[in-house]
């Protein structure tokens, strides 16, 4: 076991545009299987699309938001979508739906909308921060 090492995963590539969410999930499962822990998953930029509950891919394709949500809940891992990135791209929770008077909210549990401070906290901690960008 490597209980001393913990990772923060930052995903900046969107599902179905990039492989970033898929690669990050494979890494996360492998890390847990090897006894490492994951402090937090942080979605930034286009990566926030991974937190949309409304993704409806064909039934023979993986639903990445759902696969990630199940993994996060099953392993009790905190997950954050950057609020500034998310609002621009139409990812809202109930609170932001009310604030901006939109007709729906769509964030999938357990993702939360929070600020870049969550990412800064990871940088300032002993967590190893890894980035999954997708296209470079």
């Amino acid at each position: 076991m490597h209980s001393q090492t913990a990772f923060t995963l930052v995903i900046t590539g969107a599902p179905y545009s990039t492989q970033a969410p898929q690669t990050a999930l494979a890494f996360a499962k492998a890390a847990l299987a090897q006894g490492y822990s994951i402090d937090r998953v942080f979605l930034y930029g286009d990566g926030v699309h991974l937190s949309s509950a409304l993704a409806a891919p064909p039934s023979d394709e993986t639903n990445w938001p759902k696969a990630w949500a199940e993994f996060l809940q099953g392993n009790d891992i905190p997950a954050v979508a950057c609020i500034a990135s998310a609002l621009r791209r139409g990812i809202l929770n109930n609170e932001e739906q009310a604030r901006y008077q939109r007709n729906a909210s769509n964030i999938i549990e357990p993702f939360e909308l929070l600020g870049l401070g969550e990412w800064v906290e990871s940088i300032a901690s002993t967590s190893k921060t890894l980035y999954f960008h997708g296209d470079h």
């Binding site: 930034y44 930029g45 990412w119």
Partner: protein, 115 residues
């Protein structure tokens, strides 16, 4: 030791640079030392006199110029990239430092981010 945020894409064509700048400003806001490095097409962020109104976008020049006021330690620009774009330091906004973008430079930072 501080965090280095690298911007390697031209302004206006992608939102990535703006979101990189937001990361740097966030670090500074939480008292984490941060610097910015502009390289490749990213050096165009530093041109003085940008007028993007025709694109319905705000000039990034103003945001970068203000970054040191908000606590960003250094605005670094890659010497080779400046030469490639035939940009003289005099064509840039104030407050930049020209550096060689080398592994030795990166070794001065404990965390490097490039979206």
């Amino acid at each position: 030791m501080s965090v280095l945020v690298i911007i390697d894409q031209a302004p206006y064509g992608s939102w990535r640079g703006r979101e990189s700048l937001d990361m740097a400003l966030s670090l500074a806001a939480f008292d984490q030392p941060a610097s910015l490095l502009f390289t490749g097409p990213g050096v165009n962020w530093l041109r003085a006199g940008q007028e993007p109104a025709g694109l319905s976008q705000k000039a990034v020049e103003r945001n970068v110029s203000a970054a040191p006021i908000f606590g960003i330690e250094e605005l670094l620009v890659d010497r080779q990239s400046l030469a490639k774009y035939q940009l003289e330091p005099s064509a840039l906004i104030a407050g930049t430092s020209t550096v060689d973008y080398t592994p030795e430079l990166l070794a001065n930072y404990y965390h490097v981010v490039c979206l």
